[in-house]
Symmetry: C2
Subunit: 404 residues, 2 copies
Amino acid sequence: MNIINGGVCAAKGYKANGVHCGIRKNPGKKDLALIVSEKIANVAAVYTTNLVKGAPLTVTKNHIADGKAQAVICNSGNANTCNFDGIEIAEKMCKLTADAVNISEKDVVIASTGVIGQRLDLTPIAAGMKPLADGISEVGHIDAAEAIMTTDTISKEVAVEFTVGGKTCRIGGMAKGSGMIHPNMATMLVFITSDVAISSELLQKALSSDIANTFNMVSIDGDTSTNDMVVVLANGMAGNDEITEENEDYAEFMKALNTVTVHLCKMIAGDGEGATKLLECKVSGADDEQTAKIVAKSVICSSLLKSAMFGADANWGRVLCAIGYSGADVDVSKIDVSFRSPKGTLDVCKNGAGIDFSEELAKEILLESEIEILVSVGNGNEGATAWGCDLTYDYVKINGDYRT
Amino acid sequence: MNIINGGVCAAKGYKANGVHCGIRKNPGKKDLALIVSEKIANVAAVYTTNLVKGAPLTVTKNHIADGKAQAVICNSGNANTCNFDGIEIAEKMCKLTADAVNISEKDVVIASTGVIGQRLDLTPIAAGMKPLADGISEVGHIDAAEAIMTTDTISKEVAVEFTVGGKTCRIGGMAKGSGMIHPNMATMLVFITSDVAISSELLQKALSSDIANTFNMVSIDGDTSTNDMVVVLANGMAGNDEITEENEDYAEFMKALNTVTVHLCKMIAGDGEGATKLLECKVSGADDEQTAKIVAKSVICSSLLKSAMFGADANWGRVLCAIGYSGADVDVSKIDVSFRSPKGTLDVCKNGAGIDFSEELAKEILLESEIEILVSVGNGNEGATAWGCDLTYDYVKINGDYRT
């Protein structure tokens, strides 16, 4: 499997574009993205479990109930959530999209991200739709990935090439991350496109099983968003025999999908709002996977540990504290903790108690931009990884006046 | 009932003191506190549910198993947690205390707060014990309250006077708050003294029932501490008939206790690490109390909302978001949200959707130092209140280099 360029246009038959239509005030910031598949595609999706759900999620769920979709429209700058006319607006936005690319509005996936509780004005979207649709191309993935950014500082794309049944296949994806990220059975906005031939059922199965270990293990700030969604389109244009059962081809697809999702997870976590560091908590030695997951996620969510990591302070007591209140059933006297980065590995806690370590080496290791927090909770065989980021002045700054 | 001065020395028969013995490097910062009751007192306590528990909790639990105690010793600067010899050290510290005030070591309550995972050196404590014990007095509550502070910026004391069975009774308390505060069936460090005569059983019952609506509803940063503890001593010196059942006297005592604990809750939340504002989320209209509590606590814990409050930004979508992911079973279309402060009340969300409001008035209201977030979730009769604080640059600063 190779990592390749092309993002959501890497797979056969996909074109995309992103423009500034005027939802956002800054004319330099794109705010409307479109992805179109040449052929109608099988589709799968997962959504936030927040009871407060964005109107676009309701509309998308309805549109893809038949397992089919052909285009994705997504705006930034406004979440179209908690508005009395949200669903009506989202439906109209799908109609505008469908008319512009000449497909059925029932085959449009829609997503929105931005401020909650402000009415979404369709005027700029209606005006921008023609240039958006006219401009779709195979290099448009770059503009599309930019157009879904909110407080993200970098656009997030990845694509891989692999083989299924002798045919070259591709999967590409783009994501918007940054804030209000603490997925729970669903995730932030992620759009994935593939040319693999796979049934809608298997596509959904693959996605649902993958996110349990990828997007659901990311947390930026503990706030599960109202508009989280991951959508995968697979249009079958790679020409492989359609995957309809959990065979070898399915395993290959899963592997490629996982490469894409893990890559996007790390990009999202590393570019969390205000973040200066990507944190990766790797838990091992658990008796069961669930315990390992609970521990990894609790560590990655601790505001105290996140602040310590920002300050490059090896305050491992906060790792133990977070494990202790996680709810996981672990034996504290068996916990080991180490910090690792390209500068080296530092053991800081053995059997639940502190051990002597070099504060200088600790500083050197923790000043890197990617830190692994290695936790062993016993002699079991199960493990889990969670991704997060440090808590910084800029997180507070960004969120102290997000609306203005 | 009157609020009076005197803190933990307000009730009859209690003396206290606080000194700098040298656990902390800064000679201006007191680090050792002592409270002594003239007569042996009935005692009740609640502890953190964190699996990682400070050694002092284990020792205290053991010492007060008989429902009796006569002194409280507490140091700041070191939590005596995650150390291989923690329990031995805590036992020795109790012995030093007992010898200095001439009581049994089994009647000493011990607590520690500060860095986790660094051995607690008894040398400065042994040296400081005599001046500490020699100096106890009825005005020593001020020094004692100072000595338990960690990153607290103000010491936290309160006392009330009330009547039980015709006798004047008092309850006083002191607390240390600030960081690693997200109580779960227990709380931060709080010491409460009373001269009421009440059985240990009823005292425990009163405390356990009170904290469910007070300390357990406070969150500074979502991190449940390893050393949380609330202890109440009641030495009976007020001369009332001992309270041994849930009668009118018990109700009076509960009311007074609640005044003390709510007061300390608000002081702890308002002085949360880096905080500029006390946030009080009042939920009403719930069908059951548990739902109201879950909603109130989720709102108060949202990093996004806390940042918005720091920035005086009426970003109520984050209140709805936090309610939506709280796990509470509520009908989103029935949620109303208002912000209130001494500057006025502002309705921002009605029936789950945004309503027009004056951004100027919003700013004026939210620039105050005490903000109420009023949430109505329906037509039920149950409610709950939770306390927290805003998330600020200083929280990150304080916790980026806490150990140095």
